[in-house]
């Protein structure tokens, strides 16, 4: 897969990351709710320009991990670093600054229902820049053009299909120039064609804009289409049980759970029951 060039045309407001410094680092993370632990001692790095997929069965804590990565949830232990700066230990103001470097697409899109598509994308620019209205409109329209959604600029979120909603949500996540995007199940509920188009668009964002992508999904086709690496969570052992290229995990993993997941195999006894 193509790597972005050194001079990236579009990326977030943080200082230049050195080649060795990861865009996002997770260090010995322990997360959960109260006494219920979902993940123990998780550590991994996501480098600039990488597309990393977080996957696992239902209840393995994929979405919770994403919420820890963006600072919505406080981990029970460990740290999350955004370009070397701790999100967990940061004070409220520093944390907000770090969070503004992350573009997040929530599973539902989370667009503001009372604002049009264009106004939704303009929203972060209205709040955090001094640009004129024409300039902000130009930025928003160019993002819509990039995501092939320009025809929808006057529509309200309620008028959008699932695929359109997700693309607009990605555009809004990128409006402030965030070069780290976290996407929660971007292709869930989409038809295969729309999902494939969305995958292409994510690859294009990485190629042309140098965006780092962390994608939570369990759609196998999307994983093989876009991911440089796949990190698999296991709800039973509550650990990361795989971190490698998806094709490697599919073809060479010795872990039965990983092999079963990537080869879409049912549980043995269930398969026997119906035969």
């Amino acid at each position: 897969m193509d790597r972005p060039p050194n001079t990236r045309p579009v990326t977030g407001g943080a200082d230049k990351a050195s080649a060795s410094q990861a865009a996002v680092s997770v260090r010995n993370l322990r997360m959960g709710y109260g006494t219920r632990v979902l993940l123990e001692d998780a550590s991994f790095d996501v480098h600039a320009g990488e597309i990393v997929v977080i996957l696992g069965g239902s209840g393995s804590g994929k979405s919770s991990l994403m919420k820890n990565l963006i600072g919505l949830y406080q981990p029970l232990a460990g740290d999350v670093l955004i370009r070397g700066a701790s999100l967990v230990r940061a004070g409220a103001e520093d944390k907000a600054t770090l969070q503004r470097q992350l573009g997040v697409m929530y599973q539902s899109g989370a667009l503001f229902g009372s604002l049009s598509v264009l106004e939704n994308i303009r929203f972060p620019l209205d709040r955090f820049t001094d640009l004129s209205l024409e300039e902000k409109n130009l930025v928003a329209r160019m993002l819509l053009q990039t995501l092939e959604m320009k025809q929808a600029e006057s529509l309200m979120p309620g008028e959008l299909s699932g695929g359109m909603l997700k693309r607009v949500a990605i555009a809004r996540a990128m409006a402030l120039g965030c070069d780290i995007l976290l996407l929660d199940e971007p292709s869930a509920g989409l038809d295969p064609v729309t999902a494939a188009n969305l995958d292409l668009m994510l690859l294009s964002l990485r190629k042309n804009l140098g965006v780092t992508l962390i994608v939570v999904t369990h759609e196998l086709e999307s994983i093989f289409a876009i991911a440089d690496r796949a990190i698999m969570l296991d709800p039973i052992s509550r650990t990361i049980i795989a971190d490698d290229k998806p094709t490697t995990l599919r073809d060479r993993s010795s872990d039965a759970r990983v092999h079963q997941f990537f080869n879409r195999q049912p549980d043995g006894h269930r398969a026997t029951e119906v035969r």
């Binding site: 060039p5 001079t7 045309p9 407001g13 009372s114 820049t129 990128m174 409006a175 120039g177 042309n208």
Partner: protein, 361 residues
């Protein structure tokens, strides 16, 4: 910025959402102040641009210039160049359409039409409710009475404290206000008549209905609205069940039974509140209050209040359910339905109260 025959505009460092504003304006000013000179935008020292920076470069490149005085980029990184080539200036020429301003008269007209449409829908809905109620009276065995009891407990028993408080305060307020006037004429004993008539005929039922609208009408709209958003109503229909019988009828029956009972409680505490004020402030003993009350009010007054309360309860429940069924898509519409239910219920309760006043005068 160095000036040669071509004017060179050198962009340096980082152009991001945080830094772009001044760079963008300064660059545009330079272009405007040299309309006849070719402009070279040198990006060789550009370290970093983000989404806003890309938009700035595109905007500078698309500025209309006379022939021979165009804008040319120098040392543009290939990925940035390929990105800028994706955008055509003509595609961004049309201004963003502003939201259409709706004038006062148009707004009034649209609102009137919407309210009339809503009223027509409500009448249709009430017809369905009436049919379901008749069915329940003819075949009471078809009603799921446990559902009715559950709803009655929720909307009735849990509303008792607030109804007691408002009813008591209504009695206190009427006794005070009327008592202050009556004292000037030495007609203190007739304050009892005012308190009795007002509470039994009007205020107990009216205040209970208003509390019921705020507390329960909104809850009905929100509950059914959420069920609609979650497609539970579709699931009910797909099972071959009638949503009116399944969801509305228990609420209607519960409201018809419970609101009169709440109104009786409001009557009792309202009269007690009036008696308390009379005894403590206007030297009318509890015994005098009681004997005068028996002379002042009749069983018809009491029954009128009870019938009104039942009608108010049915109205509030029906409007709450109707608003729930009309809920649109998305969570925001549930809130709108709840608000609409409260407003419409209170308005309808007051209108119906007015009709009762005319009919019983």
């Amino acid at each position: 910025m160095a000036s040669t025959e071509n004017l060179t505009l050198r962009l340096e460092g980082r152009v991001t959402a945080q830094t772009a504003t001044s760079i963008w304006r300064s660059a545009l000013d330079t272009l405007t102040s040299h309309p006849d000179r070719p402009i070279v935008i040198d990006t060789s020292r550009l370290e970093y641009v983000d989404t806003v920076g890309v938009a700035m470069l595109f905007d500078l490149g698309r500025q209309p210039r006379p022939a021979g005085a165009g804008v040319v980029f120098q040392a543009l990184p290939p990925n940035l160049a390929s990105l800028l080539h994706r955008y055509e200036a003509a595609e961004f020429a049309t201004p963003v359409p502003a939201r259409r301003h709706v004038g006062v008269f148009e707004h009034i007209g649209r609102s009137t039409v919407a309210q009339l449409r809503l009223l027509r829908e409500l009448l249709g809905f009430l017809t369905l409710c009436r049919r379901a109620l008749m069915q329940a009276i003819i075949h009471p065995g078809t009603v799921v009475w446990t559902d009715v009891l559950d709803v009655a407990t929720e909307v009735g028993a849990h509303a008792v404290p607030i109804v007691l408080l408002t009813g008591f305060l209504m009695g206190v307020i009427i006794a005070f206000e009327v008592g202050l006037v009556a004292r000037q004429f030495g007609a203190m004993i007739f304050v009892v008549n005012a308190v009795g008539k007002a509470m039994l005929r009007e205020l107990a039922a009216l205040m209970t209905a208003i509390v019921f609208a705020g507390r329960t009408g909104a809850a009905f709209a929100a509950q059914i609205g959420t069920q609609k958003v979650n497609e539970e109503l579709n699931a009910i229909s797909t099972f071959g069940l009638d949503p009116i019988e399944f969801l509305v009828l228990p609420r209607l029956l519960a409201a018809i039974f419970v609101v009169p009972l709440l109104a009786v409680l409001a009557d009792v505490v309202g009269l007690y509140g009036g008696a308390l004020v009379m005894a403590s402030t206007f030297n009318v003993s509890y015994l005098q209050f009681y004997s005068q009350l028996l002379k002042a009010v009749t069983a018809q007054d009491f029954m009128l209040g009870i019938v009104k309360a039942a009608v108010f309860g049915m109205t509030v429940a029906a409007i709450g359910c109707h608003r729930g069924f009309r809920t649109g898509a998305g969570p925001a519409s549930v809130g709108l339905s709840a608000t609409g239910a409260v407003v419409a219920s209170i308005v309808m309760v007051v209108v119906i109260d007015g009709l009762f006043a005319v009919m019983t005068s």
